[in-house]
Symmetry: C2
Subunit: 579 residues, 2 copies
């Protein structure tokens, strides 16, 4: 994993590729590497859909190893949604395979002069780049089916659906899971539009003939990994809650806490929550022959993903995640898991961020395009996106554009990116993360829900400003590290609460790479990555005014706690004062 | 003119009004007053369609007097299009009447809780505010007709069409002209959407019983006015070119200079220019019984506006201005003045900025929604806006949103506002103004075309960067003053070239208000206004990155001169270094 694969899509001549040594980027992986390359090589004021932008796909530092939870992939670029730097993250199979092929990153550069659709196959034999007009405007499921027919059953795919081809700002990049289905998405920030702008429909990864990457100190690595896995199994969230109910275990928790954004962030509790909770979802999945406890990539020991069957017992989509259930459910007043699963499947097939799309439909409902609670209307709205009608293009451009076009004032976005499933008034720590993350409103960037609601990593009153700044800051740095190692963020539940599990994670990195990093070094890496990202955004024109929630969160009190977001602007500006 | 009329539209209770002394704002008029009130009273980060925004309508310092050219009106607010401060400017009758009623400004504040449509009548007897559901979604022409039926023939109207009600970012505020037609528009920056957000459909001004404002020194004022008028009559642009052909006299000039943006800013010369030139237009108007030389407000001595008749000799719209003829003409490859006049009428009726709409259709044509040159398609696209279809709402939201929704990279905007009819590569001085004006891309903010192309106020080579910064800076300050006095910007042709005409203008202000301003004081006022505006934008989050043209103007060479925009970023940042 000491090479970078650069694929130049144009405009001069046919697409071409070259490999080069990792060079100055050595020691970086995942988000650390994507942000370093984007920060160094992409002009911050360039057009996100222009030839100067780059799409960087990078496994983490432990990608392609036997280490548990190391199958995440980072995708970086300048975001067409936020206008700032973006790292979006997914599970699935491709990361491990890219790593085993020896690539620290695959970088798509330039863009073709003509509107073509390319497939790229990356294997131990090299890289093939082929124009394939037949792929145009296919959904992700059809694209992957075609690739399996052409290249066999051992491949993994990275693809875009219609949304990416239309260059919509909610477009995702899809990664196939263990069953070779395009159900894991690096979803946020419109990165699929960047892939679409480069004319790349699908990247096929074939790691035949490669083997697991080997550690510098195999024995120590094995020991550390074993301790790490034991720690994950021991913790109640990663060992019990997530495997049993998936991420949707959160619905009842957050709703009970009064922080469940309902009806486009108008109230904090949804009367229909029980109908769409993780507990209900698990029951339904079991009764239909779906699979509740399942990993999204090999090497996962938490196994919070799952397989959703429709009423007839046939595969429809992966188990909808908590964020999706919320975005298409409570936020739109919809309490029907079959409707939500249908929306999830449509989103995955068109390649749309479910959070952005659910938030957008909430705004559209406020604009009068549909009634809150009308599941059929919501499905029809998402289908408009797939068809690329003018309405679909509006919705597919995200909540901010939809609000602008329909004159809606209450739009829950930061840096133009829609907020996820925690109301920042009732979970003020996550509000700090939404406001200040270089990524825009992003819960994964610093998941303060831990101490705010779950009692993980300490306890901080979610309804008051005290302690939220430090909480969010520490989590943002820690997350940048986890995203760089290529681990699933959920390891944080255990590493925050169990010092020995945190140490085991460090030991894994050290023994694999022959390093001697300390906990302080780890924080240092998190700061370094965050600083690069904030620096990029500053050069792109971001100011502290961009590190703010929309005004109405400070003015409209949220039921049931009757609370407004009360962290001050000055406090928000202090989050990164040590950078 | 020592009072401010404040009309509070809600949300608590019924709309109400109060008058108050001008107080701290004394000495300011027009743009100086609108920008001062917005800067002081509107939170820069508020939502432009929210209750904290204010719409300020202000005649100039010489409004309501017998002074020539003093009928302009400024409308200020936070712009929904740019997100910054906005002053848009129009002719027509209302400014003089508001001034004679004693109001330095009419300020719309708050917004109603419910979606209602109000008419407001302002007369010497006071203010009536009435909800009138029948006004909903009427075009400007129908609104004015209804108001004339209700309030008689002596009124003037300030109204919005469907676009303003839909809160679209290209919506204008319409002002009736001398024939009581809603053909003069404060057009830029979506200010009509702000009026719409406040539920105000029309403001009827009735100045019955009032008289001309009287000067402190009537004799001196009369003498100065006479000298001023003589200066305007003497200058070839204001005395000959504009009255003979209207503003469209520029088509041949700018096209010949190779700076006429054609096919969405792809080339600098339009083969069909002769068919839509001012000379051709004047011939057609004469042959159909239209009127070529005509003032847009009483007291105009340049008389560059006109009345356009259709093929059957019936009134259709005012004489389309140069900017409109370009935006709907050359920029879209359309060379048919009847098509352009039809588009002008639709724009005026729906209440849409013709520049923004023409630029938007150019972008839409690049997106493949219509062919360049297809007039019927252009008419249908504008009709979509009036109907409020999803496509219409996209287009009505302006060029930047349209580019985003359709994934078009080449979008000619600064601060999200579309560029007017001069390509900044071939008229580099106007490029400096586009980039740096607090208003976004706005030719009127510092009309460097004077020295770049017209030999007015000196000569600066339009194709090279030398001298452009100073040229734009000086014009931006001077313009802020003219906009504050309430004079038509076209007086600048004469005041730039003829020192005695400039002095006559200062003498008018001094003799009317009993002041002793010098030329330096005048520049000082221009700086003061500009500084307020830039300060508002900085507080709203603007940085020097916002003072840039889109990258492609620096990279794509423009035919026929094969020139790129070559003023450096550092030079742009020096425009306001003395503030």
């Amino acid at each position: 994993m000491d090479k970078i694969l650069r694929i130049n899509m144009g405009p001069g001549g046919e697409p071409a590729y070259k490999t080069e040594p990792i060079g100055d980027f050595a020691g970086l992986g995942g988000r650390g590497l994507t942000s370093a390359i984007v920060s160094k090589e992409v002009p911050p004021t360039c057009h996100a859909l222009g030839e100067e932008n780059k799409l960087v796909i990078a496994p983490g530092l432990l990608g392609g190893t036997t280490g548990a939870m190391t199958g995440r992939v980072s995708v970086g670029c300048k975001s067409p949604l936020t206008g700032g730097i973006k790292e979006a993250n997914a599970g699935g199979q491709p990361a491990q395979m890219i790593a085993r092929l020896g690539y620290a990153a695959v970088v798509l550069e330039g863009k073709p002069a003509e509107d073509k659709s390319y497939k790229i196959r990356i294997s131990a034999d090299g890289v093939e780049i082929t124009s394939d007009p037949g792929l145009k405007m296919k959904g992700n499921y059809d694209v992957v089916d075609q690739m399996k027919q052409e290249y066999g059953d051992k491949i993994a795919c990275i693809s875009i659906g219609q949304a990416g081809e239309m260059k919509l700002s909610s477009a995702t990049v899809a990664f196939t899971n263990m069953e070779q289905r395009p159900a894991r998405h690096a979803a946020r920030g419109g990165i699929g539009a960047v892939m679409g702008s480069k004319g790349v429909k699908v990247i096929v990864i074939d790691d035949s003939g490669t083997s697991m990457r080997s550690a510098k100190d195999p024995e120590k690595f094995k020991t550390a990994n074993r301790a790490f896995v034991a720690g994950l199994k021991k913790h109640p969230v990663t060992g019990e809650g997530l495997p049993a109910y998936g991420t949707n275990v959160l619905t009842n928790v957050v709703n009970e806490a009064g922080g469940y954004p309902t009806f486009n962030f108008k109230t904090g509790r949804f009367a229909g929550a029980a109908s769409i909770s993780g507990e209900t979802q698990a029951e339904m999945m079991k009764s239909r022959g779906g699979q509740v406890t399942h990993g999204c990539h090999r090497g996962c020991v938490i196994r919070c993903s799952g397989i959703w069957h429709d009423k007839d017992g046939h595969y429809l989509t992966k188990q909808p995640e908590y964020e999706t259930v919320w975005a298409h459910g409570g936020n739109c007043g919809i309490d029907d898991l079959d409707v939500i699963a249908t929306l999830d499947r449509l989103d995955d097939d068109y390649g749309i961020d479910t959070i952005e799309m659910g938030a957008t439909i909430g705004v559209a409902m406020d604009a009068g395009l549909a009634e809150f609670g009308d599941g059929e209307a919501a499905i029809n709205l998402v289908k408009e996106v797939g068809k690329g009608t003018p309405l679909g293009r509006i919705l597919g451009s995200g909540a901010a554009v939809t609000g602008k076009v329909f004159g809606v004032e209450r739009v829950p976005v930061v840096k133009n990116q829609a907020m996820p499933a925690y109301d920042p008034r009732a979970v003020q720590g996550i509000g700090v993360t939404y406001a200040t993350s270089p990524m825009g409103a992003d819960h994964t960037a610093g998941y303060s829900v831990t101490a705010n609601l779950l009692g993980v990593g300490g306890t901080v009153d979610p309804l008051a400003p005290a302690g939220q700044i430090e909480l969010s800051r520490n989590l943002q740095y820690a997350t940048a590290v986890i995203d760089s190692v290529g681990m699933c963020l959920f390891v944080a539940f255990a590493t925050l609460d169990q010092p020995e599990t945190f140490q085991a994670m460090i030991d894994m990195v050290n023994s694999f790479h022959g390093l001697a990093l300390t906990a302080d070094d780890v924080v240092g890496l998190g700061k370094k990555v965050t600083k690069m990202e904030r620096d990029f955004n500053a050069r792109a024109g971001f100011t502290k005014n961009d590190d703010r929630l929309p005004d109405y969160f400070k003015k409209e009190a949220l039921e049931p706690h009757n609370v407004t977001f009360s962290v001050t602007d000055e406090e928000l500006d202090s989050v990164f004062q040590d950078l």
